[in-house]
Symmetry: C2
Subunit: 209 residues, 2 copies
């Protein structure tokens, strides 16, 4: 790993451990045994580290969601995508735990996130339509205003880590499984009989090694 | 209003406006034109103010949820309760916006909140059972593990204000209406035909003056 990457990986580790508020660029440099000057050569300040990690997270998730627009997608791959997303969000959990504070502190991240939600909304709309066409989702899902469906989904995706921080006691792997399943069950009442069958087949396989 | 109450009301106002992190006891005292010593006579520190406001919020909401166990309750009063709850949470919104940070900073509030979630879980279980008995909710809701239903509901209740802070542009009254409706529609797929009829009758009346 190059120095630049090492700095980013260490910053992520320390931010996740202590919260981004409590970690300074000096802490990061010290933990790597490099000078603060060396760190500043690569990242001009802590905000630059946070923004770079935010971008990494978004790029990783975009890679996943873009495959979603492929023709051979369906309920099974949607479920795997949610699992991958929750796993990835957990790797960058300081961003989620300090969500409001980080958005307040960076108008760049905030503006980017607002755009991202619009993109996700279109991807979500596409997925719902596709799953209705495949008779996995019931048409009755269209009785709920689409903006509200999307907002329910967004709030759960963005804040399950914060809720887990307060309420969940247990190992990280169990926590991710618990909240991924809680999220996937949000789809459940909208599934057709065929959809429920697929759901029950796929769910136990999601966390197999 | 007595000085003690005035201090609390002003603290709430300033916390909501600027976030509790950025407001000191001196700011509160200055805004009221009293000495910091006078403030300390009533509240030993900022933490005491935050804890008192948390208690006020919980007491207000408990008053609402306790009526829920009365015999004449049903879907209509549940919907009104959600509306009242969202309105109340918004009045104390700094607690919700800095939820994780406040819980981390106070083991007392955190422990209390964990207990409260257990209580709400039993109230929620009671409400679901009652609404099934009244043929407003479909028995199919029991196909979803109860813990997951409760967790979905809890995340949305606790974090809609944080999501709104980033994503919603518009007046406070419109925001509260939007997110209350988004929350209520979470019940929608579980409603029976009779339940949907009540839902559509009650929803437009919730925000009438």
């Amino acid at each position: 790993m190059k120095t630049k990457e090492k700095i980013l990986a260490k910053a992520l580790e320390l931010f996740n451990q202590h919260g981004s508020e409590k970690v300074s660029t000096r802490h990061v440099a010290d933990a790597l045994g490099i000078s603060v000057g060396n760190l500043y050569y690569h990242y001009k300040d802590k905000q630059a580290l946070i923004e770079q990690l935010y971008e990494q997270l978004v790029t990783t998730l975009n890679g996943e969601f873009d495959t979603f627009e492929a023709a051979d997608t369906g309920l099974t791959s949607l479920m795997h995508s949610v699992r991958f997303t929750f796993d990835t969000l957990h790797k960058y959990r300081f961003l989620m735990l300090d969500f409001v504070q980080i958005m307040r502190g960076s108008s760049g991240i905030k503006a980017h996130y607002q755009q991202l939600v619009q993109l996700r909304k279109e991807q979500f709309r596409f997925a719902v339509k596709l799953l209705i066409g495949q008779k996995m989702l019931s048409e009755s899902i269209q009785e709920v205003p689409f903006d509200y469906l999307q907002m329910q989904f967004t709030i759960m995706g963005d804040f399950w880590i914060s809720e887990a921080e307060i309420l969940y006691q247990g190992a990280a792997a169990d926590k991710i499984k618990y909240f991924t399943e809680a999220m996937l069950y949000w789809f459940y009442p909208y599934l057709t009989t065929a959809g429920k069958k697929v759901f029950h087949e796929v769910l136990p396989t999601l966390f197999e090694k």
